[in-house]
């Protein structure tokens, strides 16, 4: 750094002062000076930019708060800092490659993104009933495991934002165990691209069932411990009970779904009301609360994790008896999915390779065309919606009959639910804004896509 550079004298906002009133740059560490300046200015109304680099805003969310003392009188939400153009990119890749993109949207719930997209593509192809049962069971199991890991992060980070490191550590430890399962089954902890149009990418590896059993043995105790830590914790309840109230009318108008909607007492869960992937055959309850506040949403999430564990248990039971393929048997759509780890550590299907390389030139050509060019999807549009940890994750897929999507649009629940922030936060204390945003549990990767 040259000696002439003095960052203390740098005032990037000098030009704005005249237009917008006095501007204080709170980027540095000298809080005493800022507080003194603000006090000297004697302004009643203070506009604060919370984010986009504020740790408690779940990524890059910007909240523009107008404060009167400690009361929030006006709240505006700015998003778009994590826009990656996933929907645009998907138009330039094949239908199968699309899972690799959309899995990265809501990075805490990758399996849900993939499944919603694949259900949409399968509806367009008209093969919804042709998906093998084992693939459906694996999808349900992975989704419920993913719901647990996502809710754990929601609860853990919420604890951290309220200042409770214990909650954070406890939640993240359990999430690690869940991600270990994902790694065992798919090879990756996040962004797996595991669910594919037609089924799943590969069958469970040999060691997975015992690991799943260990997980099922472990988690109930851990959920009880979390509940012991939080349910009746007076500090936690003081920060969450009756905070960020949003009733059913508000939820309907703002299009809110998921735990926030269920905390108003409406048992709306797409797994029950519009089942997909065979959810109607599983035994579970829809968690609801009637308090419409942050605490109610926490209880809904806790109960949902316990119910998810019940579903995973039923899946594990079924997987022991239901054998068979995990990818659609239509050779024009399905990739080889009975993979084995070879000496080089790569997942390959030795039988398939022997077939295409050794016996059939046509099979080789077909495989090459299927993988590089992809399959064609009949023209038309479809909408598939699933219950993600944050609410209704909808996907609108449009095909023009080609091997690439013509348009894919995701109705991400985080995006829609985040609109409720002003309704929850205005009129409350500035500290409750954190609780309000955390109870929505937005994931900015999903919001901005």
């Amino acid at each position: 750094m040259s000696p002439s550079t003095k960052y203390t004298e740098y005032d990037a906002y000098a030009a704005d002062d005249a237009a917008e009133g006095r501007v204080f740059d709170a980027g540095g560490q000298d809080w005493d000076r800022i507080v003194k300046e603000a006090a000297d200015a004697g302004e009643e109304r203070l506009v604060v930019n919370m984010g986009p680099q504020h740790p408690s805003t779940h990524g890059v969310l910007r909240l523009v708060l107008t404060l009167d003392g400690e009361t929030v009188t006006d709240c505006r939400v700015g998003i778009g800092y994590l826009h990656t153009g996933i929907e645009k990119n998907m138009e330039f890749r094949t239908w199968t490659q699309g899972t690799t993109f959309c899995t990265r949207m809501d990075y805490l719930a990758p399996i849900f993104n993939e499944t919603a997209y694949c259900l949409g593509v399968e509806r367009l192809l008209g093969i919804t009933d042709a998906i093998p049962e084992r693939a459906q069971i694996i999808r349900v199991m992975m989704m419920e495991l993913n719901r647990i890991s996502s809710h754990l992060v929601a609860i853990a980070t919420f604890g951290l934002e309220l200042g409770a490191t214990t909650v954070m550590l406890n939640g993240f430890i359990e999430r690690e165990y869940t991600l270990d399962l994902f790694e065992e089954i798919t090879g990756l902890r996040m962004n797996m691209a595991y669910v594919r149009p037609g089924g799943v990418a590969q069958d469970l590896p040999s060691g997975a069932m015992s690991k799943l059993q260990d997980y099922l043995d472990r988690m109930p105790k851990r959920f009880r411990a979390l509940r012991k830590l939080m349910d009746d914790n007076p500090v936690y309840k003081a920060r969450t009970v009756d905070v960020a109230y949003l009733d059913l009318t508000g939820c309907m108008a703002l299009g809110i779904t998921g735990p926030v909607l269920r905390s108003t007492g409406l048992p709306w869960d797409l797994r029950k009301s519009q089942p997909y992937c065979g959810y109607e055959t599983y035994d579970f309850e829809v968690a609801t609360q009637t308090t419409s506040d942050v605490y109610g949403r926490y209880l809904v999430r806790m109960k949902e994790m316990e119910e998810s564990l019940r579903i995973v248990e039923q899946c594990v039971e079924r997987l022991q008896t239901v054998k068979g393929p995990v990818m659609i048997q239509d050779k024009k759509i399905g990739w080889p999915a009975q993979l084995a780890i070879g000496a080089d550590g790569m997942g390959n299907s030795p039988r398939h390779i022997a077939h295409i390389m050794g016996t059939s030139m046509e099979a080789l050509i077909h495989h090459f065309k299927l993988v590089t060019e992809g399959f064609r999807v009949p023209a038309g549009q479809a909408y598939a919606a699933i219950e993600s940890p944050r609410g209704e994750l909808g996907v609108h897929v449009v095909s023009d009959g080609g091997t690439r999507p013509y348009r894919v649009h995701f109705r991400d629940p985080s995006f829609t639910n985040l609109q409720a922030t002003p309704a929850m936060a205005e009129g409350g204390m500035v500290a409750d804004v954190i609780a309000a945003v955390a109870s929505i549990d937005p994931v900015m990767g999903g919001v901005d896509r």
């Binding site: 998003i79 778009g80 826009h83 153009g85 929907e87 645009k88 990119n89 138009e91 330039f92 509806r123 367009l124 008209g126 309907m252 108008a253 703002l254 299009g255 809110i256 779904t257 409406l266 709306w268 009301s273 519009q274 065309k369 590089t372 060019e373 064609r376 023209a379 038309g380 549009q381 479809a382 909408y383 919606a385 209704e392 909808g394 609108h396 449009v398 023009d400 009959g401 080609g402 091997t403 690439r404 013509y406 348009r407 649009h409 109705r411 995006f415 829609t416 985040l418 609109q419 901005d448 896509r449």
Partner: protein, 248 residues
Amino acid sequence: MSSHHPEQAAEQAADRLPEPAEDAPQEQPVARMGMFGARTTGDTSGYGGLVVRRRPKLSSERPYGGPEGAAEAGAFDAVADALESALPEFGDAVERVVADRGELTLHVRREHLVSVARALRDRPELRFELCSGVSGVHYPDDAGAELHAVYHLLSITHNRRIRLEASCPDADPHLPSLVEVYPTNDWHERETWDFFGIVFDGHPALTRIEMPDDWVGHPQRKDYPLGGIPVEYRGAEIPPPDERRSYV
């Protein structure tokens, strides 16, 4: 196809989609040719011969059926009947109805979009309380209706879904805003404006939401390229990836 090589032309001919029946109205015969921008014979991947034909505009006849199929009258007919009795201008407002793949689409003329949505929300036998937002689609070949806005409505009361589709020409990209009926569409309409350039008249604050405020163009349109845009960040301009310095 523009191929002059007889061998490749034969290969391309074999690769084409089946010709549609002669009586099918073929408005724009070819919607897209080639893949990854390959136009010439230099392409060895086989993509160059890919021809995607445009499907004629669908229009379903009664009975519309329900999510299970259109064999007999079902939930979709109930929705259509209720809407018809609720709206005197039904014939005017709904251009065509499509029941496809267990989903019902009402193509609504833009002048009537708000009244249709209001009837769908308020009538007890319809009660589509929840709107799942707006999804824009750009059909550059659909002359006079290039830009489409697709709304997915959900009735929790009756556990049904339907889809509304409205369109506007590129030259006059205006649609009425549905925010007064479904406040949830606030951000969704901003997103569709941002990505497609559809102006939603009556929206309380139609500004960009995902792209920077001073962005030029609407990236999800088909005439907007993928990549190739230099990015400006704090005064420094970063060229697009294909124009950056190469270390090879």
